[in-house]
């Protein structure tokens, strides 16, 4: 078990959520959902080749690109426009973890959803989405690191 520490960019997002009331947290999540980057050209026609995270029946597509030189990972996340909550979570994870080192990503605490303080405004099962996303990313990175030996 690695020591769990919040990566700086993700901690800043958590602080942002913690600084406001419940209602505004939803607005903040909506802002994030609008900021999720477009899927890069090379994936646009091949969404089906990205990994689909099965959660809440909302399609969420995920790819991790590895830069073994510096040991950092680029995250590519995509979700449909009619799933803004999923897009919002994807965007938080993207802004919080994209380009960080494998170690930093693996050390991210699993209770990210709880730290964001969204449990009153969003049902627990909707929050599952963010757990599933983070879990899948960490799983993939761990797998990659182990395969490199």
């Amino acid at each position: 078990m690695t020591e769990q520490t919040m990566p700086q960019p993700l901690q800043e997002i958590v602080d942002e959520f913690q600084a406001v009331e419940d209602r505004q947290r939803l607005e903040l999540l909506l802002e994030f959902s609008k900021e999720l980057p477009e899927v890069p050209e090379k994936y646009r026609e091949h969404l089906d080749e990205m990994e689909q995270v099965e959660e809440c029946q909302t399609p969420l597509f995920l790819t991790v690109e590895y830069n073994d030189g510096p040991g950092t990972a680029e995250l590519v996340l995509a979700a449909p426009a009619e799933a803004p909550t999923t897009r919002g979570f994807a965007s938080i994870i993207h802004q919080g973890l994209n380009g960080l080192t494998y170690e930093e990503i693996l050390a991210t605490p699993d209770d990210l959803a709880d730290r964001l303080g969204l449990s009153r405004a969003i049902t627990p099962l909707r929050l599952r989405g963010i757990r599933a996303m983070l879990g899948r990313i960490k799983h993939n990175v761990r797998h990659h690191v182990n395969a490199r030996g």
Binding site: E82, A83, T85, G88, R120, L125
Partner: protein
Amino acid sequence: MADKSFSQYANPDALVSTEWVAEHKDDDSVVLLESNEDVLLYETGHIPGAQKIDWHTDLNDPVTRDFINPEQFAEFASSKGITPESTVVFYGDKSNWWAAYALWVFTLFGHKDLRLVDGGRQKWADEGRELTTDVPSPAKTEYPAPAQRNDAEFRAYREDVLEQIGKAPLVDVRSPAEYSGEVTSAPGFEDKEGALRGGHIPTAASVPWARAANEDGTFKSREELQAIYKDEAGVGEADEVIAYCRIGERSSHTWFVLQHLLGYDNARNYDGSWTEWGNAVRLPIVTGTEKGEAPAQ
């Protein structure tokens, strides 16, 4: 394509078309409510004049596993500009899954004129109709608190279901894997709405809820629905029928079909559903794809 005629259904007034909504949404007597699975979808754009209803925060008691009480309901309704005479029209994402749930809860409080938009949000959007991010702020209305929440008529409790096994048809609207007991929760809901035991209530027929909807989110024709529920699931001419799922929202969609589209006047939704039944001690359960027998009384 012309909208299909709703006169084919048992209660033709239970549905309205997107065209009807476009024409009547600004009527003083009409209140339009959007109820979605996705908690932010309304904020990204909605039918002009529609207000948001969130089943999780608006309709449920924050502490006990139950719905809000009559006073809370009246307060909620008046805050949305609803009077007891209002035509309340619900629509939402995922083939009106959550819209049907909100409509069912309103039914418990005895509100008379409740309708679903056939095809829901998806159809409105697919037709290229206007969506707006403007949030209406209606004037508060007088909504007297109903004398009681009338649970007996449309809501089944665990005891009712136990008593009805073998007497009234039961419809399990979950996925086939949940029905058979292969999985103890819906895909994606493993850690929050699971059950210690998998399977289904003895004698229940498996009809996944979405079979009632077409690709475009509209309801199937009465004839198609009859073939599914009356014949295949064996509801037949039963006086009573109970639908259930995991926590009672998918089954409200099926309840709507049975009650309003097929005319089973005594259809009930067992909202305790599998999260209650599959976790309760000593309740009878059947695994596998067979309906199973009623336990010996």
